[in-house]
Amino acid sequence: MSAIEILLVDDEIEFAETLAERLRLRSFKVTVVSRADEALTVLDAGLRPDVVLLDIKMPGLNGLDALGEIKLRDPDAEAIFLTGHSVASSSIEGMKRGAFDYLMKPIDIAELISKIEQAAEKRKEKSGGADGQSV
């Protein structure tokens, strides 16, 4: 089984880089960007991550709007919001817009990995279904 590929979008670089390193230690393939528009650029360049980890509150395009753009480019994309924000309704809104789940910072790595694996599995199922339909 190939490594799960993750796109981590968070303006807290220290956090994002450290989390990415921890995930890499666990054999995940992680790409880190600090802004939503950078994430779109990466996607436009052809990257198709299994799971997108998205901060909600970011400079420029916020996480909720970024999810919409990501879904435009990759309808099967599964996103998990990582938020330190107090307004849980934002996370609920994210769920409504098609996010897989959300986690409150500081996160528990085991819980995150569990969610990532579930999201990746879901994407895999969806991609397989889509392939089936296209045939």
Binding site: F15, T18, R22, G84, M104, K105, P106
Partner: protein, 575 residues
């Protein structure tokens, strides 16, 4: 008007420099109300009373005056008739004699005897010629031949058909008066004057005879203002009469008072053809006893009414002031609660902001510690490796504690999503009790449920309600010692509200703690207790408010604590 403006402009102040403090202010307000009510009620009562009193007294006076006037007229007629009759008889009898016979002593004796038969009070009788000499005389004195031409009475009577003199002592040295009848032209040989003397004592006796009313003092006063007869109240003959009768005609004088304060009504009338004024003086009213009785009853009724009015005014104004006081207190409580809510809201916002700002660096620390631990775990063994793991676990544990705090802080402030449903609050309470009953059993704490099963369902969120009751129950269980009791009661409360009261038999909460009990981080628990973050009740407060409810605490040290939570049946919850 000044009083009304005072009431309108009435203000109180709690400030030390304020015009009036609360207690003084309410007492002052009550005095103002009583004064206003007094002016509005008692004053008109007094005015009406006085009007009635004086009106009634005026009626009595008028009645008495009318009666006295009638008595006076009657006495005047009687008196005048009495004297005039004497004069007429003298005249008629004298006319029966010739000029010469009238000066004849024996004829005059006969005439005197005839006269005395009818008018026994005539003392003597004399016949005078035009020169004033008494040529014939019958009586107890030796007055025959005396010339009266220099006497005032003679001069006054000389040219008059009839005359009644004033009282004088004359030659005999005894107070008396004369009545005269004349005939013939003055200064001629055919002129004569028949004179009769009457003792003044007869006037007093006659007045006594005609005065049948003991309450009336009847007497004669001369034109010079001195007494002509004895008076009960004004002394003997010759004394000066105190009342001015210079204008006396047919007059009634009112408004005087005697030494005892009784009303004195004086009626006076000039006697026709006589130099006297007849005076009738009445002390007290005709129906004096009725008047006195009426006065007493009237005063008693008015005083009783005034006292009753004052008592009612006092009670009513006290009740009014008490209502105002309670309204003020309620306003103060609502104001304090609003301030408290605003304070909590702002503290909540601050807490949320702080928590959020802390959360991000905390997330970095968490990841760094996690990475250190990962690296240690993924690395080969090296010196102090185990110690490294212990240290990172300790740091991770501290981060988790911080995370719990920040998440609770965020929970306190954030708008949590709710799932609205219609539910029975008793069901929620029973569920929550099932969570804690084992702990209660283990600690020998009695859990009493007094639930009203007829309560209507309320619109609320089951999860949040559970959190509220769990928080309060946990606090109650923490407060209660072994063998203590925690009671949960539900009841209906108007309007359309369901009330839950959770009471414990713990040590109670001091007033200074109650004021801060819903503030974040306020705790009375020992620091190293796991649940002593001081956020439980502040979160509870926030959730209760979110569910349209109201929570309050009542407690006194040593008497346990009582948490009262009210929820309306309908609530516009934000889902």
């Amino acid at each position: 008007m000044k009083l009304l403006s005072r009431i309108r402009g009435f203000t109180m102040s709690d400030e030390p420099g304020g015009s009036l403090n609360r207690r003084q202010g309410y007492a002052y307000l009550q005095r103002l109300f009583v004064a206003a009510a007094f002016i509005a009620v008692v004053l008109p009562l007094v005015v009406i009373t006085l009007l009635g009193f004086f009106q009634y007294r005026s009626l009595f006076e008028r009645d008495t005056s009318d009666k006295l006037r009638l008595d006076t007229q009657s006495a005047k007629q009687s008196f005048e008739f009495h004297i005039q009759e004497t004069l007429s008889t003298m005249d008629v009898v004298a006319q029966g004699y010739s000029y010469g016979e009238l000066f004849d002593q024996s004829k005059l004796d006969t005439l005197f005897i005839r006269l005395r038969n009818e008018y026994w009070w005539v003392v003597d009788l004399g016949t005078l010629d035009s020169s004033g000499v008494q040529r014939a005389y019958v009586g107890p004195y030796l007055f025959q031949g005396i010339n009266y031409s220099d006497q005032e009475w003679f001069q006054n009577a000389y040219s008059r058909k009839t005359y009644v003199s004033d009282i004088f002592t004359g030659y005999r040295g005894v107070p008396h008066f004369v009545v005269t009848v004349t005939s013939g032209a003055p200064g001629t040989d055919r002129y004569w004057m028949l004179r009769a003397s009457i003792d003044s004592e007869h006037l007093s006796n006659y007045i006594t005879t005609i005065n049948t009313d003991d309450s009336i003092d009847m007497f004669l006063v001369g034109v010079d203002g001195t007494m002509r007869t004895q008076s009960r109240n004004h002394g003997k003959i010759g004394d000066v009469y105190s009342v001015d009768l210079s204008t006396a005609g047919n007059n009634i004088a009112l408004g005087q008072r005697d030494e005892q304060g009784s009303p004195v009504i004086v009626a006076s009338t000039k006697l026709e053809g006589m130099p006297w004024i007849l005076v009738l003086e009445r002390r007290g009213y005709v129906y004096g006893d009725t008047w006195n009785q009426f006065q007493m009853q009237f005063i008693a009724i008015v005083v009783a009414c005034a006292l009753l009015a004052l008592y009612i005014m006092f009670r009513v104004t006290r009740a009014m002031v008490s209502m105002i006081k309670r309204a003020d207190e309620r306003r103060d409580e609502m104001l304090a609660e609003a301030q408290h809510t605003a304070k909590l809201a702002s503290v909540g916002q601050l807490a949320a902001g702080v928590a959020h700002e802390i959360n991000n660096p905390l997330a970095i620390i968490n990841e760094k510690i996690g990475l250190i631990r990962d690296l240690t775990e993924y690395s080969e063994d090296f010196p102090q490796r185990d110690r490294f793991l212990v240290l990172t676990d300790g740091a991770a544990s501290a981060v988790k504690r911080c995370k719990d705090i920040t998440h609770r802080l965020l929970g306190f402030a954030r708008r949590m999503e709710v799932e609205k449903e219609k539910l029975h609050i008793n069901d929620v309470i029973r569920e929550v009790v099932s969570f804690v009953e084992k702990e209660a059993l283990y600690r020998d704490i009695k859990l009493d449920l007094v639930l009203d099963d007829t309560l209507p369902r309320i619109e609320s969120d089951r999860g949040h309600l559970q959190q509220i009751f769990l928080n309060i129950l946990n606090n109650a269980l923490d407060a209660v010692e072994k063998n203590g009791t925690v009671t949960i009661a539900t009841m209906a409360k108007k309007p359309r509200t369901v009330r839950t009261i959770i009471t414990d038999t713990g040590p109670g909460i001091p007033q200074n703690v109650i004021k801060h009990i819903f503030e974040p981080f306020f705790t009375t628990k020992i620091k190293n207790e796991a649940s002593g973050t001081g956020l439980g009740l502040s979160i509870t407060y926030g959730i209760v408010k979110k569910l349209c409810g109201h929570i309050s605490v009542e407690s006194s040290p040593g008497e346990g604590a009582k948490f009262i939570i009210d929820f309306p049946i309908e609530c516009d919850l934000e889902e």
